[in-house]
C-alpha cells in the first residue's frame, strides 16, 4: 500500500514541461500518485470523482480529494500523513464510552469532525491550495477530468493555469519504480502459476472455459484478478478471440493461451502454445522456431537508446529470415504496468526510445484460419546493459502428456 510515483522521473518531466504540479484523476493515475485505490471507480465509475494532487516541490506528499466514503481506503492505503480533502455527506455514528483505534479515530476526525467540501470541484480546488498550487502551472490527466469541471476549477482558482497532461503521466509511468517492479513481478508469477494449473486439468472433453475458470481460481487464490484471458483449442486458435469458449479438448490439439492477471493494480500478459498429447508436426515446429527466433532477436534488440520501431523491424525481419514468410504484424509487443497497453508499442511507427527500467511484453502471434494459432509472449525488464527475460515457463511448444 504505497504510492508508486517515480520521483526522479516525475521531477525531470515536470521541469521539462515547466509544470509546478500534477492532478491525477483516472483510477490508474490516482493509484500511482497517492496509493489510493477507490472502490467508487469500480462501483460507480461515471459518477466517481477522486483526485490526487502533487506539487513539484513535494512529490512525496500527495493531497487526495475524494468522497467521504473513501476515507477508510485513504487511511489504509495512502502514505502516512497524506492530507485528504473530503466532500459530500455520509452518516455515521460513534459509540459512546469506547476507546477508538487509530484507524477509527482517523475516520472519526476526517468524516465527522472536519466540515466536508460541498462538491468534488471545491474539494479539488482545496486540495490544490493545500498542495501550494493555488497559482502556477499544473498538468491534469484529461481522461478522468471532464472539461466542464476543469473550467469550474479555473473559476475557483483564477491564478492557476491547468494544462492537459495525460501524456506526462504516461511518460513518467514508462520507467517503473521499485514498488511497481515488485507488483509486476508478482503479477507475472501468478499468471505463470495459473497457466500451469489450468493446463494441468487437460483431459479429453475439458472445455476452454474449464481451463479459464481454473486459471481465474488460481489467480484469485494468489490475490489477483483475472481480466481477459483466452484459451483456444485446436483450429480455434486461428480465430483470435473466439467469443465463446465452449470447445472441448481433443488429443493432438494445440492450445493457444494469451492473457494474464492484475495484482494490486499491475498487469501481466504472456502467451504460450501447448500441445495436448502427440508429436509436434515438423512444419509446425519449423514455424514456431521462426517465431522464437524473431522474439529472441527482438528481445536482444531491447537496449537503452534503441527506438521501439527498430525493435519491431528487427523482430519481424528475423522471423521472416527464419522461414516464416510472409510474416506481418501491427505490433510485436507493448509496455505494461497499470494498464495492459501502458504506453509505448513495439510497432513500425512508435519512435519512443527504450530506457532502462521499462517493463515490456514481446509477442509474436501467428494465427492461421483452418489450422490454429501459435503464439509466444514474454516479459522483459530493461536494464542498463540490456534485457532480462522474467518469464520462467519453457519457451518451446509445451507438451502435455497427461
Amino acid at each position: 500500500m504505497t504510492a508508486h510515483l517515480n520521483l526522479e522521473r516525475a521531477a525531470r518531466q515536470l521541469d521539462a514541461r515547466e509544470l509546478d504540479g500534477l492532478v491525477a484523476s483516472t483510477p490508474e493515475n490516482v493509484h500511482y500518485t497517492s496509493g489510493l485505490q477507490s472502490a467508487s471507480f469500480l462501483l460507480n465509475r461515471y459518477a466517481a470523482r477522486v483526485f490526487a494532487v502533487v506539487s513539484r516541490a513535494a512529490l512525496r506528499e500527495p493531497v487526495v480529494a475524494a468522497a467521504l466514503g473513501d476515507a477508510p481506503a485513504i487511511a489504509d492505503s495512502c502514505p502516512p500523513g497524506t492530507r485528504a480533502v473530503l466532500y459530500g455527506s455520509i452518516f455515521k455514528y460513534v459509540a459512546e464510552g469506547v476507546e477508538l483505534t487509530p484507524h477509527e479515530e482517523w475516520i472519526r476526525r476526517h468524516v465527522l469532525e472536519t466540515p466536508a467540501e460541498p462538491s468534488s470541484t471545491s474539494a479539488l480546488a482545496q486540495a490544490l491550495s493545500d498542495a501550494g498550487l493555488a497559482r502556477g502551472r499544473v498538468g491534469y490527466d484529461e481522461q478522468g477530468l471532464p472539461s466542464q469541471q476543469v473550467a469550474e476549477v479555473r473559476r475557483l482558482l483564477p491564478g492557476l493555469e491547468l494544462v492537459p497532461a495525460s501524456d506526462v503521466f504516461r511518460s513518467i509511468r514508462a520507467v517503473k519504480s521499485p514498488s511497481e517492479l515488485e507488483r509486476l513481478t508478482r503479477s507475472l508469477e501468478l499468471t505463470e502459476d495459473a497457466i500451469e494449473a489450468a493446463v494441468a486439468i487437460a483431459a479429453p472433453g475439458v472445455t476452454e472455459s474449464d481451463m479459464m475458470r481454473e486459471f481465474a481460481r488460481v489467480v484469485a487464490l494468489g490475490g489477483g484478478v483475472t481480466v481477459a484471458i483466452d484459451f483456444s483449442f485446436g483450429r480455434r486458435g486461428g480465430l483470435g478471440n473466439p467469443g465463446l469458449h465452449d470447445a472441448e479438448l481433443q488429443e493432438g490439439d494445440l492450445i493457444r493461451f494469451d492473457g494474464g492477471c492484475r495484482f494490486d493494480g499491475y498487469y501481466s500478459d504472456i502467451a504460450r502454445t501447448f500441445l495436448y498429447r502427440g508429436e509436434v508436426d515438423a512444419s509446425v515446429a519449423a514455424k514456431y522456431r521462426a517465431l522464437q527466433e524473431g522474439e529472441t532477436a527482438a528481445i536482444d534488440a531491447i537496449r537503452p537508446g534503441t527506438a521501439f520501431a527498430e525493435v519491431f523491424r528487427i523482430g519481424v525481419e528475423a522471423t521472416r529470415a527464419a522461414g516464416l514468410e510472409p510474416y506481418g504484424r501491427h505490433h510485436i509487443g507493448h509496455s505494461i504496468g497499470l494498464e495492459i497497453y501502458d504506453g509505448a508499442m513495439i510497432s513500425a511507427d512508435d519512435i519512443s526510445i527504450v530506457e532502462s527500467g521499462m517493463f515490456l511484453e514481446v509477442e509474436l502471434p501467428y494465427m492461421v484460419l483452418g489450422f490454429g494459432g501459435l503464439q509466444l509472449e514474454d516479459t522483459v525488464l530493461v536494464g542498463d546493459d540490456g534485457p532480462a527475460v522474467l518469464t520462467r515457463l519453457d519457451r518451446d511448444i509445451i507438451r502435455i502428456e497427461e
Binding site: 500500500m1 483516472t26 489510493l36 472502490a39 469500480l42 462501483l43 465509475r45 461515471y46 466514503g69 473513501d70 476515507a71 477508510p72 481506503a73 489504509d76 459530500g88 455520509i90 452518516f91 455515521k92 455514528y93 460513534v94 459509540a95 469506547v98 477508538l100 484507524h103 477509527e104 475516520i107 481522461q143 472539461s147 495525460s166 472455459s209 475458470r213 481465474a216 481460481r217 489467480v219 484469485a220 487464490l221 490475490g223 484478478v225 481477459a228 480455434r236 486461428g238 480465430l239 483470435g240 478471440n241 473466439p242 467469443g243 465463446l244 465452449d246 500478459d269 510474416y327 504484424r329 501491427h330 507493448h334 494498464e339 495492459i340 497497453y341 492461421v368 484460419l369 483452418g370 489450422f371
Partner: protein, 406 residues
C-alpha cells in the same frame, strides 16, 4: 458464459424514449452502453487499452436486432458468437491473419476470413463510424450519442463529415432505457446473484478463529470466478471494522463473538449483483446490535413493500427511513437506501431524496439500509428486487436474519 445471441435492449422503452426525445437512433460507446446496444459485445480492445474507446454500436429506432457494429478487425471472432445474427458490421484497420489453403473452413472460420482477410477495412475508426452511421440510415437524422465514451474531437470530426447529422448527448438517456430490464437481462442478473450467494456460503465455510478478512475475500472470489463470473469490489469486514467500511487493507482477524459483514457481488455476462448480510460467528448477537438490525430490516422491508409501478424513487427512500425510525432508531439518517442495478452496480437511479424517477415494471433495484457506528459495529442488509406490475419480487434467496455460523 452464455449462449444468448439476441437483443438485450428493451424495445418498448427504447422506442418511447427515442420518440420523446425526437431521436432516430442511438450510438453506444462506453463499455456498458456498447454491450447493451450490441447484444453483448465486450471488446478485447477495451481491456488492453481502456482509454481508447473505438468500438461503437449504432441502433436505429426499431431496429435493435440489427445494430450496426463499428469495430476493429480483432473483434470479429467475438461478434460472430455473441451479437444478434442480424447485426451489420463496419470494420476498420488491418490485421494480419493467414488461411490454410488446404483446409476446409468451418462456418466460424469462414466468417472471420470474410471480414478479416477478404473485406478491406476502413482506414480508421472515424471513417468506419461515419460509414456505420450511413449504413444505419442515420446520416441525415437526429441521433443520440454516448458522450462519456466519445471524445469531443471525434464527435466534431463526425459532424463535419456528415453535415446533415445532428448529434445529441444521450449517455443519460441510454442509461434511462437500461433501467427497465428485459427477461434476458433479468436472467443474467439472477445468475449473478446466485453466484454471489454461493460464494458467500463458500467464504463462510472457512470461518474459524484466526482467519483474516482477506482469507474470506479470497475464498469468495475463488468461488465467483470458479462459477465463470467476474469479480467486483468486495468488502468482508469483522465487527468494529464493519463500521468504517471501504477497507483497502483486509487484515481483521476473526474471533468468537464477531459479526461478519458482507457487502459483495460479482458480474455475469456484464450484469452485476450486490448483496449485504451479517453473520454471527459463534456466540450470541449483542442485544443492542440485534435491535438496530431489526429496525434496519424493517425499514428495508417497508421500502420494498412500497415498490410498484408509478411510485417515485424519492418516495421509496422516505418509506425506508420512516420505517427504520418507527422500528426503533429515531435518529436514522441516510443519503440513499439503494440503487438500480444492472450493467453497473450503481445503474443510474438512486433511491434518494432528489431522485424523481418513476418506477416501472421490470426495473431492478438494490434496497439497503446500512447503519455504521464507529467503535461498535457496521449493520447492513441489502437485497435485490424486481418491480412487477403488482408490486415487487425479491430475487435474493438468503435468509434476511443474522444467521449463526461456526
Amino acid at each position: 458464459m452464455t449462449n444468448h445471441r439476441g437483443v438485450l435492449v428493451n424495445t418498448t422503452v427504447a422506442d418511447r424514449e427515442l420518440d420523446a426525445n425526437d431521436l432516430a437512433g442511438l450510438i453506444g460507446a462506453t463499455p456498458e452502453n456498447l454491450l447493451y446496444l450490441s447484444g453483448g459485445l465486450e471488446p478485447t480492445g477495451h481491456v488492453v487499452s481502456k482509454y481508447t474507446t473505438n468500438v461503437f454500436a449504432i441502433a436505429p429506432r426499431g431496429e435493435y436486432d440489427a445494430p450496426v457494429l463499428v469495430a476493429g478487425l480483432g473483434e470479429m471472432g467475438q461478434i460472430r458468437q455473441v451479437c444478434p445474427p442480424g447485426a451489420r458490421i463496419v470494420h476498420f484497420g488491418s490485421f494480419t491473419r493467414y488461411v490454410d489453403a488446404d483446409a476446409e473452413l468451418d462456418e466460424h472460420e469462414a466468417w472471420v476470413k470474410h471480414w478479416v482477410v477478404d473485406t478491406p477495412g476502413r482506414p480508421n475508426a472515424l471513417e468506419a463510424l461515419v460509414a456505420g452511421i450511413e449504413e444505419a440510415g442515420l446520416a441525415s437524422a437526429r441521433v443520440g450519442y454516448d458522450e462519456r465514451g466519445m471524445s469531443p474531437e471525434l464527435v466534431a470530426a463526425v459532424s463535419e463529415r456528415l453535415p446533415g447529422l445532428e448529434l445529441v448527448p444521450a449517455f443519460a438517456l441510454i442509461r434511462r432505457i437500461r433501467l427497465v430490464k428485459t427477461p434476458e437481462e433479468i436472467e443474467r442478473l439472477t445468475q449473478s446473484l446466485r453466484l454471489t450467494e454461493e460464494a458467500i456460503q463458500a467464504a463462510l465455510a472457512i470461518a474459524a478463529v484466526g482467519v483474516q478478512e482477506e482469507d474470506l475475500i479470497r475464498e469468495f472470489r475463488m468461488s465467483v470466478v470458479g462459477g465463470g463470473a467476474g469479480t467486483l469490489a468486495n468488502e468482508i469486514t469483522f465487527t468494529r471494522r464493519a463500521a468504517t467500511g471501504g477497507h483497502a487493507v483486509q487484515d481483521g482477524v476473526l474471533k468468537e463473538g464477531d459479526i461478519i459483514r458482507f457487502d459483495v457481488g460479482c458480474r455475469v455476462g456484464g450484469y452485476c449483483s450486490d448483496i449485504a448480510r451479517l453473520y454471527a460467528f459463534r456466540g450470541d448477537v449483542d442485544p443492542r446490535a440485534q435491535a438496530i438490525y431489526d429496525a434496519m430490516a424493517a425499514g428495508e422491508e417497508r421500502a420494498m413493500a412500497a415498490m410498484r409501478p408509478g411510485v417515485t424513487a424519492r418516495e421509496i427512500f422516505h418509506e425506508a427511513v420512516e420505517g427504520v425510525k418507527e422500528a426503533g432508531v429515531p435518529e436514522y439518517k441516510r443519503n440513499h437506501v439503494g440503487h438500480a442495478v444492472g450493467l453497473e452496480v450503481y445503474d443510474g437511479c438512486l433511491l434518494a431524496p432528489g431522485d424523481e424517477t418513476v418506477l416501472e415494471a421490470g426495473m431492478t433495484f438494490e434496497v439497503e439500509t446500512p447503519y455504521y457506528e464507529i467503535g461498535f459495529l457496521g449493520i447492513q442488509i441489502e437485497d435485490t428486487v424486481i418491480v412487477r406490475e403488482d408490486g415487487h419480487e425479491m430475487i435474493t434467496e438468503l435468509p434476511r436474519t443474522i444467521e449463526r455460523v461456526g
